[in-house]
């Protein structure tokens, strides 16, 4: 199996704050990889650094065998797309769904825009009736579907998912996760998914990495996590916390 994403000794510094302290990671092509950790552990920053949205101080990122420089070129964005956490903030408030989906096609000079938009909307389970709505006319789940359609319309091979369901309520969460699963199977995508919800990660991902305060704690397979076969104390605490409040006595 070839590596889709290789991260080596990555450091990200925001105004003297070291958000990532030398993180290394390898995601195989076609794999779904999870990043777990508490708030502020640097998991979202790692995702954004790969996407080119965070200032990389040192270390290297390789995507599909190509080493990335400080500036990403257009070809990169056709390989890698991202779905943001908050569907209320990731859609332009003054643009219709149609316009949102047209933008990536216009930037990359696709000619068959009409057909692609139709297909993208069908793929995420939104019919043509949603095409000319503004984002404020959509529910949270519908917005996230539009965001997924936008990410998929350039036909990337890698999808970065930054807690794609944490802003949605439980029933909608399941729908969106199923949609993502289905899309991945059909298109043979590579997922790099951030979540603080261990249940989602074990459901969606084959392997995962636990992070704490900008460092990798340990790498596990989903089976190891389910079987509680972990070596680090921090991971054990995280597992215990995820089981929720336990009444004693």
């Amino acid at each position: 199996m070839t590596a889709a994403i290789t991260v080596d000794g990555l450091e990200v510094i925001f105004d003297r704050f070291r958000a990532l302290k030398g993180v290394s990671l390898e995601v195989n092509s076609g794999e779904s990889f999870g990043l777990v950790g508490e708030s502020g552990s640097g998991k979202s920053t790692l995702l954004r650094a790969i996407a080119g949205l965070a200032p990389v101080a040192s270390g290297s990122i390789t995507v599909n065998g190509k080493k990335l420089g400080a500036r990403r070129d257009k070809a990169f964005y056709r390989e890698v797309q991202m779905v943001f956490q908050d569907p209320y903030g990731s859609l332009h408030p003054r643009q219709t769904v149609d316009r949102l989906l047209q933008e990536p096609l216009a930037i990359h000079g696709f000619a068959d825009g009409e057909k692609r938009i139709q297909r993208a909307l069908d793929e995420v389970g939104l019919g043509n009736g949603f095409r000319f709505r503004y984002s404020h006319q959509l529910s949270g789940g519908q917005r996230q579907r539009v965001a997924i359609a936008r990410a998929l319309i350039l036909e990337p091979s890698i999808l970065l998912l930054d807690e794609p369901t944490s802003a949605l309520d439980a029933s909608v969460q399941a729908e969106v996760l199923n949609l993502l699963e289905e899309v991945r199977r059909r298109r043979k995508l590579t997922f790099l998914m951030v979540s603080h919800d261990l249940a989602i990660i074990t459901h969606m991902c084959e392997r995962l990495m636990v992070m704490q305060s900008g460092k990798a704690v340990e790498s596990l397979s989903a089976a190891q996590l389910v079987g509680h076969r972990v070596t680090e104390d921090y991971t054990r605490n995280l597992l215990r916390a995820s089981e929720g409040f336990v009444r004693t006595g």
């Binding site: 996407a51 949205l53 990731s90 332009h92 219709t96 933008e103 709505r133």
Partner: protein, 306 residues
């Protein structure tokens, strides 16, 4: 049109499931219009501005006398009467006709200033806000320098250098009125530049130019429109002030500020000579202010269902 078709058209406009790009856009405009027209005062402002436009267009038909030639022999400084509704000035010209023709110059100044200053301010502000770093610093310091000059004084200096005349007055006012627009546009840009939807466009590989032009500017435009309409009154007054000081429009051009200037010599005995154009300025400024207030409520992205 029967009540039924009106009802079905409204339903079409307010549809939750627009079927075309056009319908979505019209529906949005209709919602803004409903919010605007619910405000009576704003509507009054709009009526004033529309009548100003109509008067300017039809001045040649509406004006009973020539705006530049008067009857020096028989009709100097006549009080308002049946033949001359607003009286006549010291050269025997009918003041009503001069005010009607003067509306053209007022519109000319206001529109030209808006067309020059607003895009400049918008461009400087959004570029500064989006680029950040040294570009932001340079653009904003230039803006600060322009902002530090008193408006009328800079306009005066400018007119003094280029010579009096209405075109130079327009240029002078435009040069002094773009900095506030740049400030507004920059502030708006700063609030949206780090939002996820702009990041998402960056992730599509859009150039900074495209992001500023197609994604950031549309968000700044509504607050800019509001600000420009509110400033229109100030622009009219500055133009009138320049005219009054003899640096704007030159006689015999029937510009309202110049008319006040020439009427001030007999303001105590023949009050209508300066009073009538003053009143016209008052009404039009009021109209623009009311309109701007209404637009703020109708277009504000932070209100309603945004």
């Amino acid at each position: 049109m029967s009540a039924d078709t009106i009802e079905s058209r409204r339903a079409w406009l307010l549809s939750e499931r627009p079927a075309s790009r056009m319908q979505a856009r019209l529906g949005r405009a209709y919602v803004a219009w409903r919010r605007f027209s619910a405000n009576r005062l704003a509507f009054l402002g709009l009526l004033i501005i529309i009548s100003l436009l109509v008067i300017a267009a039809l001045a040649g038909v509406l004006a009973p006398y020539s705006p530049t030639f008067g009857d020096l022999k028989g009709s100097r400084l006549l009080a308002p009467c049946a033949e001359h509704w607003f009286g006549t000035d010291d050269l025997g010209r009918d003041i009503l006709s001069r005010i009607l023709y003067g509306s053209r110059w007022t519109l000319y100044v206001v529109i030209l200033v808006a067309v020059i200053a607003a895009p400049v301010g918008l461009l400087v502000g959004t570029v500064a806000g989006y680029a950040g770093g040294w570009i932001d610093a340079v653009l904003m310091r230039v803006t600060d320098i322009f902002l530090a000059f008193p408006k009328l004084i800079l306009a005066l200096a400018f007119v003094a250098a280029l010579g009096p005349g209405i075109e130079n007055a327009v240029l002078a006012i435009a040069i002094t009125s773009w900095p506030p627009y740049a400030r507004i546009a920059r502030a708006e840009t700063l609030t949206v530049r780090n939002s996820d939807y702009i990041k998402a466009v960056q992730l599509m590989g859009a150039s900074p130019f495209r992001i500023v032009l197609r994604h950031i500017m549309p968000l700044c435009i509504s607050s800019l429109i509001v600000r420009v309409t509110l400033d229109m009154a100030g622009i009219i007054l500055t133009a009138a002030g320049l005219g009054f000081l003899g640096l704007g429009a030159q006689p015999p051009l029937p510009e309202w500020g110049t008319m006040i200037a020439s009427g001030r010599r007999f303001v105590l005995d023949q009050w209508w000579v300066a009073g009538a154009p003053g009143f016209a300025i008052l009404i039009v400024s009021l109209g623009f202010n009311l309109l701007g207030d209404g637009l703020r409520d109708a277009l504000d992205p932070r209100s309603g269902d945004q």
